[in-house]
Symmetry: C2
């Protein structure tokens, strides 16, 4: 997606050759106009009219998923990372390790909001080692739902998330694939 790649080149910052900071437009301050273009692109890439839900994970996935959901006419369900007394006890859960934050957390989705009649599109901001996406796939599979695919805004093409997902037969589409960030130079695939 050219508009997104240009925005990354113009604004994103590379830290330590591995961390791509896009908090100026994607995951701290959010450019909602750009998200609308992202949402339209996801609709184009995942044209299946049978998609019933968009599944994402808090927090950075939520805004992207909500704006995107407008183009699919379906609700969003987001997996929660923390225990809260406001979530049902009756949940699907999976373990997700965050290399960025250096912790493993339990992600949960209430059994009320995904079931075997669902055909879910999984949306997230980043794909790196694939842990968050795999956790969401795991939850969708526990629910017996069909996984239509995984839609990612920015993929780190030099990490193995895509391989892990594709090895499980899951379709992965990323709007921008970063192949290298050596010395602060962002090179797309």
């Amino acid at each position: 997606m050219e508009l997104l790649k240009q925005r990354i080149l113009n604004d994103a910052k590379v830290k330590d050759d591995e961390v791509l900071k896009v908090d100026m437009f994607l995951n701290h301050q959010i450019d909602v106009e750009l998200l609308n273009e992202i949402g339209k692109e996801f609709r184009r890439i995942f044209p299946d009219k049978g998609i019933t839900k968009i599944l994402t994970i808090e927090s950075s996935g939520i805004g992207i998923a909500c704006i995107t959901a407008q183009y699919f006419g379906v609700p969003v369900v987001f997996a929660k990372k923390t225990e809260s007394r406001n979530i049902d006890n009756d949940v699907y859960e999976s373990q997700v390790h965050s290399f960025t934050k250096g912790i493993t957390y339990t992600v949960r989705v209430s059994r009320n909001y995904i079931d075997s009649s669902d055909n879910v599109l999984i949306i997230d901001d980043f794909l790196a080692k694939g842990k968050a996406a795999m956790g969401l796939c795991d939850i969708a599979e526990q629910a017996g739902a069909r996984i239509n695919g995984v839609g990612i805004v920015i993929e780190k093409g030099f990490q193995d998330g895509r391989n892990i997902l594709e090895a499980r037969g899951i379709k992965v589409e990323s709007l921008a694939i970063v192949d290298s960030m050596k010395n602060g130079n962002i090179i797309f695939k």
Copy 2:
């Protein structure tokens, strides 16, 4: 907002006379069509053309803020609750106590994304004792930004959040104000 009140009466569940569960349409599964009506209503209630940013807090505020921001044509900034190596060190921060979760956390906004030229609309899903909204106001004030107002989807009218905010001269508008939830009966103001 009649549509919202009807939805609460139809779907929401009361727990322990104080907790209103709306995770079937607002903060776990998200009805994006309803959010669009909520966004339009916030635009009607806060007509100021000078609003420059919508400020909210992760996670439940993000979807509401993003959909609403489409009607204002401005970016969203969401305060983060957890330390992450991906946030700038140069942040505004405030302490927020969550009675729902029983913890106090530090909320942070990068100094890059709010400044004294901003006129911010604060948006959140719930107003109860006002701690999250006060934390966001505190951050906006540290930045020297003007606070246009606080827009809330569901206010617990039997708690003192509104009084605390109004005592600081802040305009509060809620789309549904619940006056009582005794014995599971939801009564609006």
